[in-house]
Symmetry: none
Subunit: 233 residues, 2 copies
C-alpha cells in the first residue's frame, strides 16, 4: 500500500502526511511533481519521519502507480462533477483492505489548492470521499491523510476476512492498453484534434472501469496491435 502525494506545495503537509503514515504503520510514500523546495524542506526538517528519507519521487502519477492494481483517489469536496464511483471513507477503506495485499494499492492525494486534476483522476479506479459535513470547505491535506490511514488501520480483523477473488491488471498494464487504444482511435479519425485531451481522459477512465484482469491483458494488447498494424497498411 503506497501513499501518493501529487503536486504538494507545503512542506509541512508532506511532513504531516509522513508522520501520520508512521503513526499508523504505513511505510511507502511517493511524491509526484512536488515543489522541489517543499520536498527538500520536508526531508530536512528536524524530526522528519525516516520514511521521508526513503520517499520516492516521480514526474507523473502514471509512473508512481505503475506497479499498482488498485488506484484510489481521495476527495473531501462533493460538488465537483465526477464520473467516478465515489465511496465513503468507511466503505472504501474496507474495499481497499479486501483487495490488498494480493493487489498492491495506491491511495492518491491531490494538491492543497486544487485537489486531483481531471488528468490525475483518469488514472484512478474510483474515489474515496471523506464525509465532511461542511460542504464547501476542503480538508487540510495532512488531516485527510491521517483520516484515511486511520480508517484503513481501524479494524484489522474484519479486514482480513475475505480476500478479493478477482485480481486486476496493474496500472502500468492498463495504461499500455489505454495508449494503444488511443493510437487506434487517432488513426481511425475517432479523435477530434480539438477535443483530443478530453477524449484521452474519457478513454482512460473507460478502460479503468472495465477492471481488466491480468490474463486478458496480453489478449487485448494483441488485438490492438493487430488492428494498429492493419490501420497502418
Amino acid at each position: 500500500m503506497r501513499v501518493v502525494l501529487v503536486s504538494t506545495r507545503n512542506p509541512l503537509n508532506i511532513g504531516a502526511a509522513a508522520r501520520a503514515m508512521a503513526n499508523f504503520g504505513f511505510a511507502h510514500l511517493c511524491v509526484v511533481n512536488p515543489y522541489d523546495l517543499a520536498f527538500r524542506e520536508a526531508r530536512s526538517a528536524v524530526g522528519a519521519a525516516p520514511l521521508l528519507q526513503t520517499a520516492e519521487e516521480y514526474a507523473t502519477l502514471a509512473d508512481a502507480v505503475a506497479g499498482c492494481r488498485l488506484v484510489v483517489g481521495t476527495t473531501s469536496v462533493g460538488h465537483r462533477e465526477l464520473q467516478h464511483p465515489i465511496r465513503r471513507l468507511e466503505y472504501g477503506a474496507r474495499l481497499i483492505l479486501r483487495a490488498t495485499p494480493a493487489a498492491p494499492a495506491a491511495l492518491v492525494f491531490g494538491s492543497e489548492k486544487f485537489g486531483l486534476s481531471n488528468e490525475d483522476l483518469s488514472h484512478c479506479h474510483w474515489l474515496m470521499r471523506i464525509p465532511t459535513t461542511g460542504q464547501d470547505l476542503s480538508m487540510n491535506l495532512g488531516q485527510a491523510v491521517a483520516l484515511c490511514l486511520y480508517e484503513l488501520s481501524r479494524e484489522p480483523n474484519t479486514a482480513a476476512a475475505k480476500p478479493e477473488k478477482v485480481r486486476s491488471a496493474t496500472a502500468g498494464e492498463t495504461e499500455q492498453i489505454t495508449l494503444r487504444l488511443l493510437e487506434a482511435l487517432a488513426k481511425s479519425g475517432y479523435v477530434n484534434p480539438v477535443t483530443a485531451l478530453s477524449t484521452d481522459e474519457k478513454v482512460r477512465r473507460l478502460v479503468r472501469r472495465l477492471e481488466i484482469s491480468p490474463r486478458d491483458v496480453p489478449v487485448i494488447l494483441g488485438m490492438l496491435r493487430q488492428i494498429l498494424w492493419k490501420l497502418d497498411q
Copy 2:
C-alpha cells in the same frame, strides 16, 4: 460538545483544529492558557475558520469545562502511567455520543510537547486513546483533533452498508459489442480462419468479463464503428 485545547503552542495547530471542527460540524472551541501570540496569530490567519473568532479563552481547564457533565481527555501515547480508564477512540466516541446532547461534553487536547498534565487529567472522567501503531510517536495535534471529530461524526452503520450494485449492460448490448469487435478483428487479420470458432468464443467470454456498464456501451460501439470504417478504406 466543546473542543478544548490546553496550552497549545503552535498557531498552525489551533488553526488546523478549527478547520477540522468546521469540516465535521463542531462549533464550540475553547482554548486554555494558549501562548498569547499563538492564539492571536491563529485568529488573524488568512482563511481562519469563523469559529476561531468566537473561540473562548480560559485561564484554567476547570473554567473551560465548568458547564460540562462529561470531560474526556485524549492521548495517543500508551506508555504513560495513568490512573484513568482508557478507551479506544472507536469505543470512546460511541460512549460520548450516547451521553450527549443530554450531557454537554468536552473533548480535551493537551499541548504538542507534553500532552495533558496530571493536573489536567484530574479534570477528566476518562481518556480516549487514538490507536496508533507506532508506539513512541505521538500524533500531530491537528490530526488528532481531526480523527476524534471524524470518529464522533462517523455513522457506525455505513461501513457495513452493502456495496452498491453496478448495473451491467444487457446481453444484447454486450453481444453487439462482441460482433463489432469480431468484425474488426477479422478485418485486421487477427482471426485465423482455422481457429475462428474458438476465437469467437474467447472474445465473447472476454467481453463479458469486462462487465461493461450501460453508459459505456454507445461509446465503445462508436469506437468500433469508427475503426471498422477506417479498416474498410
